[in-house]
Symmetry: C2
Amino acid sequence: MGSSERKEREKAELKELILDTSKRLLLKFGKHGLSVRKIAKEIEYSPATIYLHFKDKDEILHELMEMGFMLMNKYMVPAFAEKDPSKRIYEIGRAYIKFGLEQADWYDLMFNSDEPMKHVEKCREDWDEGMALFNFLTITCNEAIEKYSLKGYDAQIIALQLWSVVHGLVNLALTDRLGIVQPSDQKILIDKVLDSTIHCLFKK
Amino acid sequence: MGSSERKEREKAELKELILDTSKRLLLKFGKHGLSVRKIAKEIEYSPATIYLHFKDKDEILHELMEMGFMLMNKYMVPAFAEKDPSKRIYEIGRAYIKFGLEQADWYDLMFNSDEPMKHVEKCREDWDEGMALFNFLTITCNEAIEKYSLKGYDAQIIALQLWSVVHGLVNLALTDRLGIVQPSDQKILIDKVLDSTIHCLFKK
DNA sequence: GTTTTTAATGAACAATGTTTAGTAAAAGAA
DNA sequence: TTCTTTTACTAAACATTGTTCATTAAAAAC
């Protein structure tokens, strides 16, 4: 006895190594540089070994997705501290966009990829990182609605509207559609749209 | 002579056959069912023959993209006919969303895919179908701004804001993020967000 | 020392996009 | 017609991808 504990620890360490390596490959070479075989080569194990720790490639992607939300939360910290609701919404928006543009591969994995969502059974359960963020936005919208006594506003609809704008903006930027339509500085353009959105919601 | 003309016609016909088949495969099996080898098998030629008519798979995707805009235009026809600018904006938004949800594979190809944009040299030139649509939206926004005498509004920013909202909504819906956040009827939810967006822009 | 459990892999399968050398047929020239 | 050149096409190969399974080597349990 006792050796079984060591075994489990070693097993967990290898799993962690696989995830760390996946993360590194994603950061270095993007989603196209992340393959099961490359991970295997990197950690100097055979590809089949990966499948002793993960059912799927999707399962790896799914765990990376969770890591992505940890990273995103770091971007959100200053925004969460903001007292004024409409200003908090603005800061959340800015942080979201900043994260999306700076961490394009993470963003894509977390918000655009089908694979880790469809094939992993606990998809709903594990996207609650995303849901928590959305709920916080909804609460903030509620605060803003009360503060400005906006009647006929549904906080959840407003939250979704805000999410759609920033999600749309980030995706348009990342897929090079923004530059075609308006070749000026994209960041300024994006800022203006976010300004306009919040202005027309809360500053009238 | 004369036979050379027939040759060229036959060549063009084969190219058209490849594109038609690609289109059919995309519609039937989605983007994952569309491979060079499947196209080849379908038209009963070898895969290498495809490369006599197209430089790349990307080039095929690119031509499909153009077809997609033709299809999208059909969705837009009723909206274009609308006289009132704010109502026209609303109808464009609805048509855009309808197209996105009903023709998910086309939408993905036209608005999300990197490949046909990055590797084909004439990317800018050929996305002018998309640009034309955006320009029309911008013009309509201008009309609305004048009609409601909205000061300090930039038509292009408003147009981009609108595009971002619908693009974001469609993408959230297509990648199953909407249902997680709010499991009620997605179409109604999307409609409410579009309503809210236009209402807060033009109806105050 | 023997048996059983575990960890790890090599090799195979079915896909993918793409290239190249080679062939067969058609077209053009004599 | 015969010879040559151009054209249309393909078989085979290459380098990838995710995934599975029979097998082996080693460690653990008895």
